[in-house]
Amino acid sequence: MSSVPIWLIVLIKAVIVLFVVITTFAYAMLFERKVMGWMQLRPGPNRVGPWGLLQPAADAVKMMFKEDLTPDTADPLIYRIAPFISLICAMGVFAIIPFSANPDGTLWSVGNVNAGILFVFALSSIGVYGISLAGWSSGSKFPLLGSVRSTAQMISYELSMSMSVIGVLILAGSTALGDIVNAQLRLWFVIPQIVGFCIYLITAVAETNRAPFDLVEAETELVGGFHTEYSGLRFGLFFIAEYLNMITVSCLATLLFLGGWNSPIPGLPSGGLIGLLWFLIKAALFLFFYIWLRSTLPRFRYDRLMDFGWKVLLPVSTLNLILTAVAVAVWPNHA
């Protein structure tokens, strides 16, 4: 083991994670189309391969062969870079997400960062630039409106999201994702932090621009919002970024509130591959919840979105944070 240079190990890990994550993205998309189809009394894609299983491949080929248009009025450099900002930030998060752990405590992640959760928030904040710049540089009105909305929405909801997560950090006493999961061996944080969990769920949907908070894309009013002018592979990159963000927040919810790779029943084994299985099941439940949400709720009106973020979520999450801090200060041993 010591003969293999550390950079090679990290590289191999990164390639594996990247491959798995991209495949997960492809099938998350198919899963969404299938589930939404069933909820709307139709079968969903079922023509490409058995049960439509090759649909992601067909979609990828379609995206790649479409013309890559740049509008005359666009700022060409920023217009071309913007999708990559979104995608790189969305992918970068997976570098530190631990998917499971060995019994000796070694995490199954590409890198282990002490300030893990801060790293995630930092990257997702930079990811907003991808959307904002895309809308701004398109040289068109709908994308500009979409990106303005995106910026406002992200600022409003990121605040409440961070607040809801700080409650967990106080309980765990660490910002490293591995430590947070280990702190949940006895009790998942979803129970003491039920308010924080609900706020996280809501804000996570808003952070990923998914229905009912998809005002950034709002097909009916903004013709696709920030990606109106994008086509072909560049549009595909935004698409990948959106789904990767969805997977990211699902993974984070699992790690922060649902005990990560710990088994739901205390007696069952939870390390290694079985832990990975638990992790995937929990994250998949979140993905399902997202799709369920999308096919159930209509889109928010913009002023209500802002009202809800600032007048409801922020006060409640602040109160939750204060109560958690007081509780930990009063009974330090129970945390």
Binding site: V35, W38, M39, Q40, L41, R42, P43, N46, W292, S295, T296, L297, R304, D307, F308, V312
Partner: protein, 206 residues
Amino acid sequence: MRKNLFNVGALVRGFTTTFSYMFKRMPTVQYPSVKKQHAPRFHGLHELRRYGDGKERCIGCELCAIACPANAITVIGAENSPADRRSPGERFASRYEIDELRCIFCGLCEEACPTDAIVLTPRFEMADYRRGAFVYAKDRLLVPPEAGAGTPPDERPNGIPADLGSVFRTKDTVDIAEGYEATHRGQVLKTQRQGLTLREGRGDVA
């Protein structure tokens, strides 16, 4: 705002509705592999009928072309010669063309025809890559002599076949057979108002 955002009961109902729909039977017909049977009176592709002895019904009168609201029909009549009688009358259609891209499948040609020669069939699969292919001439419209006289358009059964109804008969969808009956009742009422009676089973006004 408060009322809408915190109405948890409505949220729960919405979520249970979408979830339960996942397990309902879907009315989708897997079209190219499963084909649904159309009603006998469905307005699809036309055909030119013959008499039982193989003679063409069309007498080249052009009433269908006059009745056509879309100007889709072209008829050029010609005199029958004693040596080669194409139709029982004096004249026959030397050319009969329908532009199926212009056709609105209203069936007025069928109603206008004095000899029941032009009839709309339930066939509807006419897709092609060339525009020209949609102009149907006699070579494609005229039924082969061995097809016989066929059912006169007025005597086709009303309503819809049973298996068509079963495809759509789920708990939540409107029963199509019922819809047809409602339409029929409406027709009866309308003709009564006009002082006429509807011939039962024929669907036309006496």
